[in-house]
């Protein structure tokens, strides 16, 4: 049999630069970030290795998609997937995601001065950035609903609470979305302004750090407001970047937990046979492998079309996020089961992937959410795809 249809337009492209990025990321992380490092980071405050992060900065990973004008490599956002996939496979804990999203949001909504001041710092690792979009109680509203920005005197007053702000406790700046005169805006808050307002969250994924931020009554100056009168476009762009990066991370993570499980099935014997020989374990592993292969294809396609402003892009991104979210969580769930009693221990690495898969599938929209949106995008008329 054959694919029902093979298009001639470029569905998936992979430049040599991207191929090299993937290789160098796999190489560096293979050297610098093994399971031992993951375990050490679980109990550390920041959850990452500052010297490794610095090395990532020097390799240009933190400014990859930042325009040259701001000290970046100016590569297309799609190229970030080539880094995020190996990071996911190695369970890297780092502010890469938060900082990248902050850079992208700043690019979309910031003033020239703000970009000139912050983007080089974020790219060099001199500063860590984050974004605060989520609010308690509202799953996947994406745009601000309760956090408001009111004019007061020469500046503004904020009200409300943000949650799931990645790396907030060690971030130098946090970009916060808020409603101002009924329109979404973004304000830039420096660490000093947030002192005493940050409470670390206890996450199912112990390799992550995020916090809840109480903004009630916070007074800020006019210059903290990003100029975009309506930040919707910039926020939506940032969400798309998040979908892409998480899809890539999940593709890598699913591959990582697949290989962890395979290693066990190839070495563990029961009843005198390698347990990987039992169809009850072999066939589910094959199904997981097939799902990963399909998910990766969706991911690379999403990365390829990321620059095109089209419905196809949004379909591609949401498909990747939905499919890989379920593939990763399922692969991790089966890894626990197939490791038997060992898989049920804290010492078995399967739980690291399991917990990360849970986090990644829920963050920035779960499969149910994205499939619902996909229905709206694709089911108007059948020719849509």
């Amino acid at each position: 049999m054959q694919a029902a249809s093979i298009q001639s337009r470029i569905e998936i492209a992979h430049s040599e630069e991207e191929a090299l990025l993937t290789l160098s990321a796999a190489e560096l992380l293979g050297k610098r970030w093994d399971f031992g490092d993951v375990r050490r980071a679980l109990t550390s405050t920041t959850g990452y290795d500052a010297s490794l992060y610095q090395q990532m900065a020097e390799l240009g990973w933190l400014s990859l998609a930042t325009p040259a004008a701001y000290g970046g490599a100016g590569m297309p956002v799609g190229a970030l997937a080539s880094l995020a996939e190996p990071m996911g496979k190695q369970l890297l804990g780092s502010p890469f995601l938060a900082t990248t999203l902050a850079s992208q949001l700043l690019l979309g909504a910031g003033s020239e001065a703000q970009k000139q001041h912050w983007l080089p710092k974020l790219g060099s690792g001199a500063a860590i950035g984050s974004i605060a979009l989520s609010e308690p109680g509202e799953s996947y509203a994406m745009l601000p609903t309760c956090v408001r920005l009111a004019t007061s005197g020469t500046g503004f007053t904020l009200s409300g609470t943000k949650c799931f702000v990645l790396d907030a406790q060690h971030a130098d700046l946090v970009l916060v979305s808020a409603l101002h005169d009924g329109r979404p805006v973004v304000v830039l808050l420096e660490a000093s302004a947030l002192a005493g307002r940050i409470r670390r969250e206890t996450l199912i994924d112990e390799t992550r750090r995020s916090a809840r931020i109480d903004l009630s009554g916070l007074l800020i100056g006019r210059d903290a407001l990003l100029p975009a009168a309506d930040a919707t476009v910039a926020i939506e762009h940032t969400l798309r970047v998040a979908w892409l990066l998480l899809s890539a991370e999940m593709a890598g993570g699913a591959e990582g937990v697949l290989q962890l499980t395979l290693d066990y099935l190839k070495t563990r014997k029961q009843f005198g046979k390698f347990i990987g020989g039992y169809q009850a374990l072999k066939h589910p592993m094959v199904e997981i492998m097939c799902a990963i292969e399909q998910g990766r294809s969706l991911l690379y396609h999403a990365a390829t079309v990321f620059e095109q402003a089209s419905v196809e892009r949004e379909i591609a991104l949401r498909m990747a996020k939905a499919q890989l979210g379920e593939t990763y969580t399922h692969a991790a769930d089966r890894s626990i089961q197939f490791h038997g009693a060992v898989g049920f221990t804290y010492e078995c690495h399967a739980q690291l992937f399991f917990r990360r898969a849970q986090w990644a599938q829920h963050a920035f929209g779960d499969a149910l959410h994205h499939r619902k949106k996909l229905g709206e995008l694709m089911l108007r008329d059948a020719s849509a795809f």
Binding site: F164, Q270, H362, K372
Partner: protein, 403 residues
């Protein structure tokens, strides 16, 4: 069952139990309770749960159908079933001495000597003596018959040497049902095994706690380094250990004939997930208004109902043909897998909030669902993995060839 009391008798008894539970159900503790006996990790958890079992036993609600001479109630099993269902309804804690009440006790009742019954059963019911299980070994999880721990007879004693793992309640247990090899010369691994009611608090028995994926403790590794136990601890004949163990496994894997009663673990009901769906918001509406979520909730409800009704049906012989043992033998597999999927769904229902974990003040119900999802694997893996269960069902119930 012929000795079954009338529905009216049971109904009035049910009222009586309900009243007692209303007055005596233990107050929720300040600390977090475990999902099951497999997660008992702290003394305060253990003491709280042991006290509850003692209270229930003294009220006559545990071991109701077991013979009076061994501390039981000597009543028809139907009464215990009423108590169990009322305990589930009242959502009271499970019985901490579960291995004693559900697995070791029934095995002793079935195969033990008169002395052994007199010696062990009463304190199993009263939770004075806690039991643990020593079947699995590091190299033999599914392949239990391959046990390498040895028990060498020396005079009136056996000398134990070897390691057992995943010993729930290992630190609190007074006794262990232990599968050990008394003879290595047998023609197959099934020969030369013996079954012991081994004391845990003797020299050269060392237990080391193992941490679980949830971060909790609760089970241990137990090392026997030439530990000496009295020969009277042998259950059944020397060398007949495997057939004794199979009896225990039948009790463990859901064939609920003759178990002492009480709850085995915190019951999770679809109704709780429905409540969750009523609270969680999706697209600005309660999640329960999402048709895709409704569809899934109904699917779960049908599964749960089918299982519940099966427990009822299995007592009606004319409705259990052509596989009279299918329901009891499938219960462990189907219930544990449903529990796992139900928990996973309950976590995903929470959306982004599902990423908060036990200890976060904003986690829904203190992250219970997240923890329960992980703990659900203890039932899909422990007591024979689901994969092993399916082999057993395929071969013993459906009569298919061995793999």
């Amino acid at each position: 069952m012929s000795d079954d009391p009338s529905a009216q008798e049971l109904e009035s008894f049910r009222k009586q139990v309900r009243t007692w539970l209303g007055a005596n159900a233990p107050k929720p503790p300040r600390f977090k309770l475990p999902d099951s006996f497999m997660e008992v990790g702290t003394d305060e958890q253990f003491n709280y749960l042991r006290d509850w079992q003692q209270k229930a036993y003294l009220a006559g609600y545990i071991g109701m159908s077991w013979p009076k001479q061994y501390g039981g109630g000597g009543m028809p099993a139907a009464y215990q079933a009423v108590v169990n269902s009322e305990m589930a309804r009242a959502n009271v804690p499970f019985m901490v001495n579960l291995i004693g009440l559900f697995w070791a006790g029934p095995t002793i009742m079935k195969l033990g000597s008169e002395e052994q019954k007199k010696r062990y059963i009463p304190k199993i019911l009263s939770a004075e003596e806690i039991w643990c299980q020593g079947f699995s070994e590091p190299e033999n999880g599914s392949d239990l018959a391959n046990a390498q721990t040895t028990a060498i007879r020396e005079g009136d004693e056996y000398v134990l040497r070897g390691t057992k793992v995943w010993t729930s309640l290992g630190v609190y247990a007074h006794h262990m049902i232990l599968l050990a090899r008394t003879d290595k010369s047998g023609p197959s691994k099934y020969h030369g095994l013996s079954f012991f009611l081994a004391p845990m608090r003797v020299p050269n028995v060392e237990t080391t706690p193992i941490r679980k994926m949830t971060g909790e403790h609760g089970f241990t590794e137990t090392r026997f380094d030439d530990a000496r136990i009295p020969a009277s601890c042998l259950l059944g004949e020397e060398g007949q250990g495997w057939s004794v163990a199979l009896t225990t496994l039948m009790f463990e894997r859901g064939n609920d004939g003759g178990q002492a009663g009480g709850l085995a673990m915190v019951p999770l009901r679809v109704a709780q997930v429905i409540e969750l769906a009523q609270v969680m918001q999706r697209d600005g509406k309660p999640a329960i208004e999402d048709p895709v979520i409704r569809e899934q909730l109904v699917r779960f409800a049908i599964e749960e109902r089918g299982l519940e009704l099966s427990q009822y049906r299995m007592r009606i012989p004319s409705l259990t043909q052509p596989r009279p043992f299918a329901i009891p033998m499938m219960s462990k597999l189907v219930m544990s897998e449903l529990r796992r999927r139900l928990c996973a769904f309950a976590v995903s229902l929470q959306g982004e909030a599902g990423n908060l974990y036990v200890g976060d003040p904003d986690a829904w119900s203190d992250g219970d669902w997240q923890r329960s999802y992980m703990n659900a694997f203890s039932a899909t893996i422990g007591g024979g993995t689901s994969q092993i269960q399916m082999n057993i069902l395929g071969e013993r119930v459906l009569g298919l060839a061995k793999g």
